[in-house]
């Protein structure tokens, strides 16, 4: 009997209102955290599966060409991203990159430089041999694409991001469309009819009319992918790709963290990147802050930076031959 009293006192003290309040608060925080964790679960999954991809870039075998792997840029310092875009429609087991854009971001000054690399550029690949640069990704994935660009352009690439065609359509649609001044009518009788089509090698006619307008994902893709009726062919397409990239940036600036699960769900299977979530976050903050006037756009057009070539010297293919002296002067200036 004598020992029961202190026990009751101890139990009574546990039911003190302050303890109950603390316990309640703890439980609510726990449940709130669980709710938030459930909301951002797709982002975490994507963070594991799609971001932070590790690429091992082989060291250079060419004398006089900069070899990579210097450590990645520190947070807040300028960094360079290689954007890769390719069809993911199953035509090629290993897809070619239809679009390669080097982007240098300077978070401190909010300056961005974009350089489009012609897909037909005839270069030595990091995996050996000469080929069009769009084959690097097909032969060796992101690592080969990065190594090939680094060795030929003498730049250091900190990160890469790859997006498939369907990913672009879905992303633009998820953003509610993009706003553009379409500079000229983009008409094409040989536009690939390979999106949601049973036959991957068919063609269709498309017409994107000029003027300021709101483009949905399909139209935006037609605008950036069409090249047959552009007098500058792939170079004209590269310029349009940069325009759409900036329009996506403008629309993405309206996003916040709560939109991330939807964006991740949209890009599922159509996007991979070496960037970790922290770098993605810093990129988004730059996207929100920088002015379009601070964006420098470079296209390696003919005849200044490149020329057309074909014949046995290029494996019988029609290629774009680089003028390295001019190109490297540009990369030295803009991608130090």
């Amino acid at each position: 009997m004598a020992g029961q009293v202190p026990t009751r006192r101890r139990r009574a003290s546990r039911l003190h209102p302050a303890r109950i309040a603390a316990l309640t608060l703890f439980c609510l925080i726990l449940s709130g955290t669980a709710g938030a964790a459930a909301y951002f679960f797709p982002v975490v999954v994507a963070g594991v599966g799609q971001t932070g991809q590790t690429v091992v870039v082989p060291p250079s075998r060419s004398p006089g060409v900069a070899a990579t792997p210097t450590p990645s840029a520190a947070p807040g310092s300028p960094f360079t991203v290689l954007l890769l875009g390719s069809d993911d429609d199953g035509k090629n087991k290993s897809p070619l990159t239809q679009s390669m854009i080097l982007v240098r971001v300077e978070p401190a000054t909010k300056h961005v430089t974009m350089l489009s690399i012609p897909r037909d550029l005839w270069v030595p690949l990091s995996v050996g041999g000469y080929a069009k640069i769009d084959a690097a990704y097909a032969y060796g994935g992101a690592a080969a694409a990065i190594a090939t660009v680094e060795r030929n352009f003498h730049v250091h690439i900190d990160e890469y991001a790859w997006v498939g065609l369907k990913g672009l359509i879905k992303l633009v649609d998820r953003l509610g469309g993009v706003d553009l001044v379409v500079t000229n009518p983009v008409l094409d009788d040989q536009y690939p009819d390979d999106i949601n089509s049973g036959f991957l090698y068919g063609y269709r006619r498309v017409a994107v009319l000029p003027g300021p307008q709101h483009l949905d994902g399909s139209r935006a893709l037609q605008y950036v992918r069409s090249r047959h009726n552009d007098i500058n062919g792939d170079f004209g397409r590269s310029a349009r790709q940069q325009e759409v990239l900036l329009a996506i940036k403008a629309k993405a600036s309206t996003l916040n963290a709560a939109d991330l699960p939807d964006i991740v769900d949209t890009l599922k299977g159509n996007f991979t990147t070496s960037m970790g979530l922290d770098r993605v976050r810093s990129l988004l903050s730059v996207a929100t802050a920088f002015d379009i006037a601070n964006v420098k756009q470079i296209v390696l057009y003919v005849p200044t930076y490149t020329s057309y070539g074909n014949g046995p010297a290029y494996g019988g293919a029609s290629v774009v031959v680089p003028h390295w002296a001019q190109i490297l002067a540009v990369t030295r200036e803009n991608f130090p």
Partner: protein
């Protein structure tokens, strides 16, 4: 002890509810800009009642705006770019298929009177685009942009729009090509037939550095030499002639991804100095009011990108004469216009809200 367990069990739903609440609350923090979806004009009421009657297009559907309310007209389909006959009794509009487009004659309530062109074919290359229809001031001819001839298998298939003209009451085989575009640029668009027999139109060019230019041209006769009225650096397009034919409204981008709404005096062949009315946004598709004292145009509100209709009363300041401008050169790279004169900004009035009008289909207003 039992009470505590009961309390704990009762608290579980509270925790579950709170966790769900947090989940749902985070969902409400999503960007409103991205989530905003446009509505049809018919479920909205214009914020400002425009004089006269206007036709606009949204998502392939045509709407008549009259006395402050919208009515949908026309059969189902992908309609765009309506225009009026000079006597205001008929509409001509573009009906777009998957790989072609045709011109149709409609009554003012959108009932099809006649299919003017037939551009669909089972053979992909034989399909054509007919776009940007306009009727000549005398009502005799229909001018439009048409992707013929096609350059076959040069390097790539060339598909460029030329300006064509055909009798309004005639047949397509009577159509005659008027302009010779720069190939592999997309070609010539937005023709305006003039009372004097010539046309205004927009021609595109692309220089080797991939920079695209658009210029407004004047051409007196079919396949005659066209004269640029604006310079290549101004990148002007979407011309709209005032009802009395003395002023031209246009959209100029100057190589940027923003546009300016400008007007300039026009004497039938020569364009005078331009005045910038609006700039720094995405202004497009200007159209004159029936009395010529105001403009309407499309521009998005905020970052949604959904184009709304705006009304802009014009300043009463005297307009410089077109004859005071230098004579336009025949060179495509000349700059026949002097620098735009800054003008006190008139106050635009937003007419629609929440819709998403087709910015490549200029409104028709009479």
């Amino acid at each position: 002890m039992i009470l505590r367990r009961i309390a704990a069990i009762l608290f579980l739903p509270v925790m579950l509810g709170f966790g769900s609440g947090v989940y749902l609350y985070l969902g409400t923090l999503k960007s409103k800009v991205v989530q905003e979806r446009p509505v049809l004009p018919t479920v909205t009421k214009p914020k400002f009642v425009l004089p006269g009657t206007m036709y606009v297009v949204q998502d392939g559907r045509m709407f008549k705006l009259n006395a402050g309310s919208f009515t949908e007209i026309g059969p189902a389909g992908d309609w765009s770019q309506p225009t009026l006959t000079p006597d205001h009794t008929r509409l001509i509009a573009v009906s777009r298929g998957v790989e072609f487009s045709d011109l149709y004659l409609l009554d003012l309530d959108g009932h099809v009177v006649k299919r003017i062109t037939k551009n669909d074919s089972r053979v992909l290359e034989y399909n054509h685009w007919a776009l940007y229809p306009r009727v000549s001031p005398d009502g005799a001819n229909l001018v439009y942009s048409y992707d013929s001839p096609k350059l076959t298998k040069y390097v790539e298939e060339g598909v460029d729009l030329s300006v064509w003209s055909m009798p309004l009451n005639g047949a397509q085989y009577q159509a005659r090509r008027w302009t010779d575009p720069y190939w592999y640029t997309g070609g010539d668009v937005s023709p305006i037939p003039l009372a004097g027999g010539g046309i205004l139109f927009v021609r595109h060019s692309i220089d080797p550095s991939t920079v695209v230019h658009s210029q407004i041209y004047y051409q007196a006769r079919a396949l005659a030499l066209a004269k640029p009225l604006t310079s290549d650096t101004e990148d002007c397009s979407e011309p709209a002639l005032s009802p009395d034919g003395t002023q031209l409204a246009m959209i100029c981008s100057r190589g940027k991804q923003t546009t300016a709404l400008e007007i300039a005096p026009f004497n039938g062949t020569v364009l005078g100095p331009a005045r910038v009315l609006m700039e720094g946004g995405l202004y497009g598709s200007p159209v004159w009011s029936p009395d010529g004292k105001a403009l309407a145009y499309y521009a998005p509100t905020g970052l949604t990108g959904h184009f709304q209709l705006w009304y802009l009363p014009l300043p009463v300041a005297a307009t410089p004469s077109a004859t005071t401008s230098p004579s336009p050169s025949t060179s495509a790279h000349a700059s026949p216009i002097v620098a735009p004169t800054p003008t006190p900004a008139p106050a635009p009035v937003q007419v629609t809200e929440g819709v998403d009008l087709s910015a490549t289909s200029p409104p028709v207003w009479y």
